[in-house]
């Protein structure tokens, strides 16, 4: 059934995008953190993602751009099985983390999400203290055995997220009382606290002012040395500023993947060119 729907939808698809152009694959297998092959995502009968083949490299920031409804967020959410929470959503194809199938029956989605963390568009701290927000995941996964270790973990996570200095005297105050930019850094600290390998970010700065955005972008650049980051953004300037590779999605297909520098100076595909220069597609 699923292949039939896929074939039907493919036939109706604009033939312009036959294959992804550019460099969706990474040469050295040891540099690959996550990989998807022929990844389709369906919402009921409607196919949202069409056969995406892409490697995500270790310690890189890969930006996913494209017009609304192009499937970039859907694809991102497939990478840590966030779509499992949507009943009619179905994912097919191969999706791997360090070569292991993340959709295998043996894979516990909660453990997967600890390894592949996510930061959302709107800062969503729990209605708890700053301390408890960061400690939440560590407690859930039993990562620490005593209070002193937990204190250290909270401090280290907040420091990595560039927030510790600003909140160190107010750790027991509610996380929701922080400014938008601080809340988003708190969410990043919460994600980092469970020691993930990959951080997915879905428009993490679209609700923030330019200063808070710059602080988060600076933070991402530092985090890149320890984590792999995949970010969905509507801001092309943001993609250009922070990522090493850029993936352009259009109508559920991955149109082009190239080094960010090449995408923004000399894109290979006309659709990419049209999108990043603000032309009618």
């Amino acid at each position: 059934m699923s292949t039939e729907i896929a074939d039907k939808n493919r036939d109706e698809f604009d033939i312009e995008i036959l294959n992804t152009v550019g460099k969706p694959f990474i040469d050295k297998p040891e540099d690959i953190k996550m990989a998807t092959r022929d990844c389709d995502v369906f919402y009921g009968d409607k196919q949202a993602i069409f056969g995406v083949d892409l490697d995500i490299g270790k310690n890189e920031i890969i930006a996913m751009i494209g017009p609304s409804g192009c499937g970039k967020s859907t694809y991102l959410r497939a990478l840590n099985r966030m779509n499992d929470t949507i009943e009619i959503c179905r994912v097919s194809g191969s999706l791997t983390l360090d070569g292991q199938d993340i959709y295998s029956k043996k894979q516990d989605p909660v453990l997967l999400r600890a390894r592949v963390g996510m930061v959302f568009q709107k800062p969503n701290p729990f209605p708890k203290s700053i301390y408890d927000n960061v400690a939440y995941g560590a407690r859930l996964h039993g990562l620490v055995s005593n209070k002193a270790d937990l204190d250290d973990l909270v401090e280290a996570s907040l420091t990595k997220a560039g927030l510790f200095k600003e909140v160190k005297d107010n750790l027991q105050k509610p996380g929701t009382g922080l400014s938008g930019g601080q809340q988003q850094r708190l969410c990043i600290a919460r994600t980092i606290a469970v020691d993930p390998e990959v951080i997915l970010m879905d428009e993490p700065t679209s609700a923030l002012d330019p200063i808070a955005t710059a602080i988060i972008e600076e933070l991402m650049d530092e985090l890149r040395h320890n984590y792999t980051i995949a970010i969905v953004t509507h801001s092309m300037q943001q993609a250009a500023r922070i990522s090493q590779r850029t993936a352009y999605f259009h109508l559920g297909k991955l149109v082009e993947v190239n080094a960010t520098n090449d995408v923004f100076t000399n894109p290979e595909h006309q659709l990419t060119e049209n999108y990043i220069t603000g032309r009618f597609g």
């Binding site: 100076t265 006309q270 049209n274």
Partner: protein, 245 residues
């Protein structure tokens, strides 16, 4: 790849305005070179003086175009083809301005050369060189106006003749100066004119390099023609082989 319109119409208008100004500047520069060539070949002192004092409009346009490019970069953050268009216009107008300066110099030498009788071979050779440089400039501007990268490649190829013509003229001039030392003063003026024409040819080649950059997205400066063909026009390698040889 040619592009459709921007969603923001004012962006299209601004880019078009800059492009037209660059073309207008190209037109003025071409006229200066054409007049300078005529002045020096026909020993027209008045025209030479006119050329030597008509550079202001070109300089003004250069400044205006630079300002408008800076404004678009600041306000619109151009990317891809738009970015390459602006970068190539900034570069091309610099070359155009320098061509304008060379024409000004030629005008000046033409007015100084006056009606001095000159060696026939020297005149013919200077005519060859000047006409070649002028034609390269016209072709380069035409390639820019139409964003025709293939024509730009042709100009790049033809431009190699400029150096040869310059060398030939130098030899004639050296003989001319050795014949009679009284010739030296004017022979030097002629050689300076020739040097200016040679530079006009080189600047025209630069213009073509930026046309190719705009169209193909690859910077081909300081690259041999053969390598450019291999990289950007592999299909022409076979048929053009005979041209190169």
């Amino acid at each position: 790849m040619e592009n459709g319109d921007h969603i923001l119409q004012s962006y299209d208008q601004e880019l078009e305005e800059i492009r037209s100004k660059a073309l207008e500047m190209g037109g003025l520069v071409e006229k200066q070179v054409s007049n300078a060539l005529q002045a020096v070949l026909e020993r027209d002192v008045e025209l030479g003086e006119h050329v030597a004092s008509s550079d202001a409009d070109i300089n003004e346009l250069e400044v205006e175009i630079d300002e408008e490019c800076a404004s678009i970069i600041a306000r619109r953050q151009p990317a891809a083809g738009d970015l390459r268009l602006l970068l190539s216009i900034i570069k091309i107008t610099t070359d155009l301005e320098r061509i304008g300066d060379e024409a000004e110099q030629i005008g000046l030498y033409a007015s100084q050369l006056g009606n001095h009788v000159s060696n026939q071979g020297m005149s013919a050779q200077l005519r060859h060189l000047g006409e070649l440089a002028h034609s390269l400039l016209k072709l380069a501007l035409d390639a820019f106006a139409r964003m025709d990268d293939e024509q730009a490649m042709d100009v790049a190829k033809k431009s190699r003749r400029v150096s040869r013509e310059f060398d030939d003229l130098s030899r004639i001039l050296i003989t001319h100066m050795m014949d009679d030392t009284r010739n030296i003063k004017n022979a030097l003026r002629v050689i300076w004119c020739a040097r200016a024409f040679e530079r006009i040819g080189n600047h025209s080649t630069n213009i073509c390099e930026f046309v190719i950059y705009r169209v193909k997205g690859k910077d081909i400066r300081h690259t041999s023609l053969k390598k450019i063909r291999k990289k950007l026009y592999p299909e022409t390698l076979k048929d053009k082989k005979s041209d190169d040889e």
